[in-house]
Symmetry: C2
Subunit: 348 residues, 2 copies
Amino acid sequence: MPTAPSPLAYIPFVSVENMMRFVHHFGIEKILVELTDAIEADYRRWDLFEKIPRLASHSRDGVIELMPTSDGEAFSFKYVNGHPSNTAKGFQTVAAFGLLARVDTGYPLMLTEMTLLTALRTAATSAMVARHLAPGNAKVMAMIGNGAQAEFQALAMKAVVGIEEVRLYDIDASATAKAARNLGDSGLRVVSCTSAQDAIEGAQIITTCTADKAYATILTDNMVGSGVHINAIGGDCPGKTELHKDILSRAVTFVEFEPQTRIEGEIQQMDASYPVTEFWRVLSGDAEGRGDARQITLFDSVGFATEDFSALRYIYSKLQGTDFFQQIDILADPDDPRDLFGMLQRAA
Amino acid sequence: MPTAPSPLAYIPFVSVENMMRFVHHFGIEKILVELTDAIEADYRRWDLFEKIPRLASHSRDGVIELMPTSDGEAFSFKYVNGHPSNTAKGFQTVAAFGLLARVDTGYPLMLTEMTLLTALRTAATSAMVARHLAPGNAKVMAMIGNGAQAEFQALAMKAVVGIEEVRLYDIDASATAKAARNLGDSGLRVVSCTSAQDAIEGAQIITTCTADKAYATILTDNMVGSGVHINAIGGDCPGKTELHKDILSRAVTFVEFEPQTRIEGEIQQMDASYPVTEFWRVLSGDAEGRGDARQITLFDSVGFATEDFSALRYIYSKLQGTDFFQQIDILADPDDPRDLFGMLQRAA
């Protein structure tokens, strides 16, 4: 006689709908602040993590990546695609889901959508770095590229860094209009601009997040004045960059995990001797952050597995006692572990 | 006003319960035969696959692996753990799930449990190789190690190769009793044995599948006579082997993907010059299979990502029109792909 699966068979699954309920329940700015702290806490124990460049399967239209990491107690990975041509087909450029598991038994703990969660953790990572590297008292951010990530960036920089004004620019004016509309009640002063030059006027933080899979030059050297912090998150795969290399020559550049960024980041334009600092070293005190008020700091961000790990553990820690998940029966759990076949037979 | 997620947001998820219903609906032997053919069809187009040794995260207690591959149209990966100490804790040694996705958009197509499916595909892979390499008219198989994989192996060898008798042996007599009981109605003659030596008496195929994470010697050289086919599936990670190296010296050895097997298979005992043949070359006619009736053929099987790919595509191809799945909302799909934030906002 078939019996109900044992409790070991189930893991919580956070659907897109439940992730949205989760965000509204706790509040997006509170989540961005807590996520920033969770990511920073893990950056501060960088050495404990198993770090490997992500496993990428490239095709003509895009890339599918698996991003695993572990701190020895928990293991996580994210599945994420990047297909710039998807937008024209009505699909997301980036869609993702992720898993958290126990290292001691290898058993999954939680499966979750990560399209929304990646947008949140990417914004939180940008904010974590900006709060250490941006010039003191930064109040204005230019947001170049007003796609799916734009509003999350603006809210994280507001909640974590304290910016008060966001200056929007996109080559597609309807994207700028969309972002301006969505940020209407955010408490930020929103300025829609008609050129990148206009957008960076008076900004202490310049965030670039465009999606073309090609060497593009969103910012040229003469546009960027001294003292700004550039948060470059759109150049994130081989062949995809956003900044003119002359900007890189003037900037002090910080990265997540150097071996991965050399392949995927803005610095793929530079030769291997171009100096970069892994950001965790600023937190640990091993390296200097911003040197002086006139320095251009550049965070060449491509996204790293530990940030997903932090985000997954953060969500998991807050799920208990809520109903923001459903239980899914993903693990075969026979009464006798050696009797998988018997379990199948008895289900007939 | 929140609206229901679009159809693009959902993918089918095959739970353990639904996988069991699927197997009983179509019949396990029919599935094993079709799966064997599906795996062989993909082995015959070996060059099309992106092949990379699996990504393994080792810890004191076991290993967590991600096994990705792609044929340029579909991408798949499997998450699988291997924790020999789990059995004592009431967990499965191996638990797995997997995903099939489209390469052109990067979007997932199906998520499924793979603990049961891995048992099926491992047995089907063994049967695929045995039907080409075992001595003609093989009727008797010794099954050494009577854990979770044992019955699946016996049924696949019956359905695909035509064996009529299985001779069971395990160091734990209760495992043998369990397998004998489960195979009671299989149509196989089941002989429970009290030693490995006894089990291999008269067998043309010897399958070893034991789970110790240590160099073990399940078979010694003097036990193995000429002409047999050895199907060694238990030695599947660094430090884990089952056969005495003298057997390897006498055998002609076939593997799935040489770079992976050198690290994980029986041949980790041999030096790098020990000759092996990738099995797909036998199918393509590039290499010889069994040379003569006295040869010992050895399939040093560790499991390879293309086998999971074949299994995932097979399940997916048969899901249409059935109810052996539930739809899960794993993909954020805003009306305007750039308006992820607006989707979140409107869900409030």
